[in-house]
């Protein structure tokens, strides 16, 4: 079975070559540091769009809660790597655990009652509400004082429980697992909904998740951010003071400071690239397996598939969990790269919908397309600032330099990239809805 014909192979190769060329231009004309910074975020974007492509391209599920899953991955990265704050644990650790235990018990109890009272009409709503409310109130009594004592423990430096102090790379797995776990619960309750309601529900839930991260300071330090998350790669300072690196930079012929920063970025690049390639290989395997074919058959005709005895909802749940896990991994990678966990960066317009543009522009249903989309869209998202600025410069040429109008537009020019992204999305939807690298159709696969 030949998966690809020569022509489309060549096209994919050409497109990726063009993308590399664009990055090289940035390297030569702007700076290599910037180029690597863009590349690293391109790689993370590509991982995310790979995950979204699983959900949308393979199964037709519109998940608008991408930022929620990315934040969960980020939280995992922070919780796994940061050292525990012993004092805070002493101050309120027990209270937190007890409070969480009460919440979990009441949730399980509520679920149990919900299942047992199946078919008893309105009564079961009231029982469940009653259990949840009582559980919440009791847990509040335990959690309240515990949270206050944790948050008042050295508030300027910690004020939270800290993490587990484990290696960073482990956190990427944990990030995926945490996102998968949450996706399982979200999927269980929302996947029966109509496709556009699914989008609104996932967007709402992910906003709730991010709200919790912003406000539960005992867990995340909230908007005070957790900085100094350990790295999987060497620190610039260490490199600069080590002899072998000084020799190396001398040999290449660039300053040791610049060399160290390039070296660190390259380390990240290779780590991210390995993750991306492994995930791509797995996704391609899955896509071409009977499982992947069935997924797409369900997407194309849900009624027929369920009539043929396929369990549509449980298949959807599988792919929703897997896709979200990939987004969670990317979220953990993002926090590792930044070295800090800041819940305010998970903004749906800037990122969730941007990932959607990546998948649609790249070619939904095609993993190579999704990756290319991740690269191209992120590249232009960054470079659009320059393009927008240049555009404004040209458009405002007739105005004098001191004109306040010109100053205003130069200040707001970065906003043009939103406009450009919207335009790109609309143009693709209208004129090339299958994206740059369209999905290989099932018929072609069997040839």
């Amino acid at each position: 079975m030949k998966l690809w014909n020569q022509k489309s192979n060549k096209k994919v190769f050409l497109l990726f070559a063009l993308m590399s060329g664009a990055l090289l231009i940035v390297g030569f004309f702007q700076s290599w540091n910037l180029m690597l910074a863009i590349l690293n975020l391109c790689l993370i974007s590509a991982v995310m769009s790979l995950g979204v492509n699983l959900q949308w391209g393979y199964a037709g599920l519109f998940n608008a809660g991408i930022m929620g899953f990315a934040a969960l991955g980020g939280l995992a990265a922070m919780l796994v790597t940061k050292a525990p704050v012993i004092g805070a644990w002493h101050a309120g650790g027990f209270g937190i655990l007890l409070g969480m235990f009460i919440l979990v018990v009441s949730a399980i109890l509520a679920y149990f009652v919900w299942v047992r009272l199946e078919g008893r009409g309105k009564k079961r709503y009231w029982y469940v509400i009653f259990i949840v409310v009582i559980g919440y109130i009791i847990s509040r009594f335990v959690l309240g004082p515990a949270i206050i004592s944790i948050e008042s423990f050295e508030p300027s430096s910690s004020g939270y429980l800290g993490g587990a102090g484990l290696p960073v790379l482990l956190s990427w797995f944990v990030g995926g697992l945490l996102a998968a776990l949450v996706a399982f619960f979200i999927g269980r309750i929302t996947l029966g909904l109509r496709s556009d309601y699914l989008a609104i529900a996932t967007l709402g839930i992910s906003e709730i998740v991010i709200f919790i991260f912003k406000n539960e300071d005992w867990l995340t330090r909230g908007v005070k951010n957790v900085t100094g998350i350990p790295r999987p790669v060497p620190y610039e300072i260490e490199l600069q003071s080590s002899i072998w690196f000084q020799n190396l930079s001398e040999y290449i012929g660039i300053g040791v400071i610049q060399a160290s920063s390039l070296f660190v970025k390259l380390c990240y690049t290779s780590l991210f690239l390995s993750v991306l390639l492994i995930l791509l290989w797995l996704c391609e395997k899955a896509l071409n397996s009977p499982w992947g074919r069935m997924m797409r058959a369900i997407r194309d005709n849900e009624t027929a598939a369920s009539a043929m005895g396929k369990d549509v909802t449980s298949r959807h749940l599988q792919i929703f969990v897997i896709g979200s896990a990939i987004v969670g991994i990317a979220g953990a990678m993002l926090v590792t790269l930044d070295g800090q966990f800041n819940p305010t960066i998970y903004h749906p317009l800037r990122f969730t919908f941007l990932i959607w543009v990546m998948v649609i522009v790249g070619g939904s249903g095609n993993n190579f397309g999704a990756i290319l989309g991740g690269f191209v869209v992120w590249f232009f998202w960054i470079e659009a600032e320059i393009i927008g600025n240049a555009l404004v410069q040209i458009l405002t040429l007739p105005l004098s330099d001191s004109s306040s109008l010109k100053e205003h537009f130069l200040n707001t020019a970065p906003q043009l990239r939103l406009l450009i992204m919207g335009l790109v999305l609309l143009l693709f939807l209208r004129f090339a809805p299958r994206g740059v690298i369209p999905e290989k159709t099932l018929r072609k696969l069997s040839e």
Partner: protein, 337 residues
Amino acid sequence: MIDYINAITLLANYIIVPSLAYGSQLALGALGITMVYAVLRFSNFAHGEIMSFGTMISIFIIWLFQSIGISINPLPTALLALPFSITATIILLLILDKTVFRYYQQQRVQPVTFMIVSVGVMFFLAGFIRFLIGTSKKNFDDGERFIVKASQFKQMTGLAEGLSIRTTQAITVIVTILLVIFIFWFLNKTRTGKSMRAFSDNEDLALLSGINPERVIIITWILVGVLASVAGTLYGLDKGYKPFVYLQLVLPIFAAAIVGGVGNPIGAVAGGYIIAFSEAFITFAYKRFLTYLLPKEWAPEGLVQILSTEYKFAISFVLLVIVLLVRPTGLFRGKTL
């Protein structure tokens, strides 16, 4: 007895008055979303930005009026600017309909595709608006700021609790009532309004009855333009205009529309107030309220708050999710106009 009145005044000041205003803004927004849904059958993510656009135009007109010294003191100049911003918003929507939405409507694409299209429009408008007006916060509530000030109220009544009603709050509620009455009158009493409901009920049969779909869609966008620019301007008047807030506003508005039953105008209005009042009731600290009502020795120590104020926005999402799960058709069984 005086304690009861104080307690009620407290609730009125902190919950009832602000929620009526916020609920009105949500209701108008939800009404717009619901109309698009009922006639064009998609969830319009761009609605928040359309509201933002209307508000931006209002602000431009207000600046113009202020610079040439036109005002209607004690009322805010915004009221004078509304007709202009409504017109501009309608023109924008008709252009969008012609260039973007119409194609997908004719193709009868799936609702989810249509929704992604509206996300593209949302992006485009967000960039356009922020490029034009910038991202900083702008207040434009000129004119008399208060109808009743808390201190005046205390003086007048001799109560310990004050009640303040801002002009913008009163205007919001009054304009909303008038506009909602107009919309319901239009939908239920006029031939054109009925033809919109018919189209929303059964598109094919509407065609067979000679109802022109093009006309129905254009009228829908016109009404949506009125609703969106009024809702946006009132919200900005009440809370200050900040472009990115309108993006966040989409979710509570969707929540209002879905809680009420998307596609059902009565549901949209009710949903707006349900969301606003639940946000206020759930995040209100009942300490003072209970202190008035309970005997002295029972007075509570903590804030007696169900959720902290930071979670205000999250409440609408929780309600949204619960309604989607338990009763996806909403409280008023929506589907059509």
